[in-house]
C-alpha cells in the first residue's frame, strides 16, 4: 500500500514503542500507522523480536550453521592483521660536513634573489596587463544649438591618448556630400583643415560625422571647429577646450 507521507525512521518507531515520544509526535505516528500496514507490521515485529517464539523453527539448523560460518569469515576479513615487526637498524651518529653551512647560506641567498625577481616580474605583468587607453571620443554640438556659452571641455586628456575622435553633430541639415572642416586655436592660428566626400545613397541630413584628431596637433587650449559644405554654407561651429595631460 502506498502512503503519501514518508515512512518514519526506525529510531522513531523504536522511540514510540518505548513510549519516548511527545504526545503530538505520538499522535502523528499513530495516524501514519492507521494508513500504513507496512509500518504497522514493522512495529509489531519490533515487539516480536523480544519474543523467543518469534520465528522459532523458521531457520533450518543447517542454514543457521552455514550462516554462522559465513559471518565468522566476514569478521576475520575485517579484523586488522598485525603488521610484521620491522628489522632493528642500529643508529649511526650523524656527522655534518663542514661545507654544509656554506651550502645552506648559498641556497638561502639564491632563494631570496629568486623571490625578488618573481616579485618584480609580477609587477611588470600587472603594469602590462592594464588596459591601454589609446583613443578618446567626444560628442560636439554646434555653438548655435547649445544654451551654454562656454566651450565644451574634455574632462581629462591623459597622456597615453594618441587619438581624439570628435563626433560633430550638425546644426543645419546638409544638402551635399562634400565637406570641409577647419580647426583653429583661439587667437586664429590654423591647426587643421580637412576635406572629404561622403558617398551615401540617401544621406541623412542630420547624420553626425566622426573626425579623428592626432594628439600631436592638439595641445592644451581652446579650439574652434567649423564644418562647412562645399557650397560655403556652415553646418556647424563648435568650441572645444582641451586640458593638459
Amino acid at each position: 500500500m502506498s502512503h503519501p507521507e514518508p515512512h518514519p525512521e526506525p529510531e522513531a518507531l523504536a522511540a514510540y514503542h518505548a513510549g519516548e515520544l511527545t504526545e503530538p509526535e505520538e499522535r502523528r505516528l499513530q495516524d501514519h500507522l492507521l494508513g500504513c500496514p507496512e509500518c504497522a507490521a514493522l512495529l509489531l515485529d519490533l515487539d516480536g523480536l523480544s519474543d523467543p517464539g518469534f520465528g522459532a523453527g523458521s531457520l533450518a539448523p543447517a542454514d543457521q550453521e552455514t550462516l554462522w560460518r559465513s559471518l565468522q569469515s566476514e569478521i576475520r576479513k575485517e579484523e586488522p592483521v598485525p603488521a610484521p615487526l620491522a628489522p632493528v637498524v642500529p643508529l649511526r651518529r650523524a656527522v655534518s660536513p663542514r661545507w654544509l653551512p656554506a651550502l645552506a647560506a648559498a641556497l638561502l641567498a639564491v632563494t631570496i634573489g629568486l623571490s625578488a625577481w618573481v616579485v618584480s616580474l609580477q609587477r611588470k605583468v600587472d603594469v602590462l596587463s592594464r588596459p591601454q587607453l589609446a583613443t578618446q571620443t567626444v560628442d560636439l554640438y554646434s555653438s548655435g544649438s547649445r544654451s551654454e556659452g562656454s566651450p565644451q571641455s574634455l574632462e581629462t586628456f591623459p597622456a597615453n591618448v594618441l587619438l581624439l575622435t570628435v563626433i560633430l553633430h550638425p546644426e543645419k541639415p546638409r544638402s551635399t556630400s562634400r565637406y570641409r572642416v577647419q580647426i583653429t586655436r583661439a587667437g586664429g592660428e590654423g591647426v587643421w583643415t580637412s576635406e572629404w566626400r561622403r558617398e551615401v545613397v540617401q544621406p541623412d541630413p542630420y547624420d553626425p560625422i566622426p573626425l579623428g584628431l592626432p594628439r600631436s596637433r592638439l595641445g592644451p587650449g581652446n579650439y574652434r571647429i567649423h564644418w562647412i559644405e562645399e557650397t560655403g554654407q556652415r553646418i556647424g561651429d563648435y568650441e572645444l577646450k582641451v586640458p593638459g595631460p
Binding site: 529510531e11 499513530q30 504497522a40 523467543p52 520465528g55 543457521q64
Partner: protein, 209 residues
C-alpha cells in the same frame, strides 16, 4: 544451545569486556538469528536475501558492540540495524528480488479463472449504489467517534488486526482495545440505525432490535 530467557545483558557484557567474546557472540547469534531471519522473510525478502540481511545485521552488531549502552534495549538496537539494512537494500533496487507471484495480465483479460470469478461477482447496479452509500455513511460515523476508539476500529477494519496487535500499535492494553471496539459498535448501531452493517463482520444488522 542457549537457554530460553537467558539474560542478554550478561552476553553483551562478555562481548564488550572481551571475556569469552567468541562464545558470547555465538550464543547471541543462536538466540537472535532465527528471529532476524523471520523478520526479513516477513518483509517479503527471499530466503537467500533474508540470510544475507541477517548476516549484515550481525556484522553491524559486532562492529557497533563497543558503542552499545548496556542499559538500552538490545532488541530495539537490533531492530534499528535490521530496518536500516533492509531499507538500504530496497533503495539499492533489490526489491525486484522479493518473492512476489506474478500474474499474467492476459489471464484476467481473456476470461481466465480470475476473470470468470470477477464476472460472477459483479453486483447489480442498485446493489452497488446501496453498498457505496452504506460505506460512505459508515466512514462518516467512524470519523465522529472519539480518537482512540476510531483508531482501534480503523486498525481492526482496514488492517484486520487482532486485539493484541492493536494494543501494541496504539500502546494500550488489550482490554482497553476490546472495550473501545465494543463501544464503537454500539455507537455506530445507534448512529446508523437501519443502515448499519457491522464493519467487523460485514453482516447487515437489520435483524438487531
Amino acid at each position: 544451545m542457549p537457554e530460553p530467557g537467558e539474560p542478554i545483558q550478561g552476553l553483551i557484557e562478555q562481548l564488550q569486556t572481551g571475556s569469552s567474546r567468541d562464545e558470547a557472540f555465538r550464543r547471541l547469534f543462536d538466540l537472535y538469528s532465527p528471529r532476524l531471519y523471520h523478520f526479513f522473510i516477513r518483509r517479503g525478502f527471499s530466503h537467500q536475501d533474508s540470510l544475507d540481511l541477517t548476516q549484515e545485521t550481525f556484522l553491524g552488531i559486532y562492529r557497533g558492540m563497543e558503542t552499545f549502552r548496556r542499559d538500552a534495549s538490545f532488541e530495539t538496537w537490533l531492530f534499528k540495524i535490521a530496518t536500516n539494512a533492509f531499507r538500504k537494500r530496497l533503495r539499492w533496487g533489490a526489491a525486484g528480488k522479493r518473492d512476489a507471484r506474478e500474474v499474467p495480465l492476459e489471464d484476467q483479460d481473456a476470461g481466465g479463472p480470475a476473470g470468470r470469478v470477477a464476472a460472477a461477482d459483479v453486483p447489480a447496479p442498485g446493489e452497488e449504489m446501496l453498498r457505496k452509500e452504506r460505506s460512505r455513511l459508515l466512514r462518516q460515523a467512524i470519523d465522529k467517534l472519539p480518537e482512540q476508539m476510531r483508531k482501534c476500529l480503523v486498525l481492526r477494519i482496514d488492517q484486520e488486526l487482532r486485539y493484541k496487535e492493536i494494543a501494541v500499535l496504539l500502546r494500550l492494553s488489550p482490554e482497553t482495545v476490546k472495550v473501545h471496539l465494543f463501544q464503537a459498535r454500539r455507537r455506530l448501531r445507534e448512529e446508523l440505525g437501519p443502515y448499519f452493517q457491522d464493519p467487523l463482520t460485514g453482516e447487515p444488522e437489520e435483524a438487531v432490535p
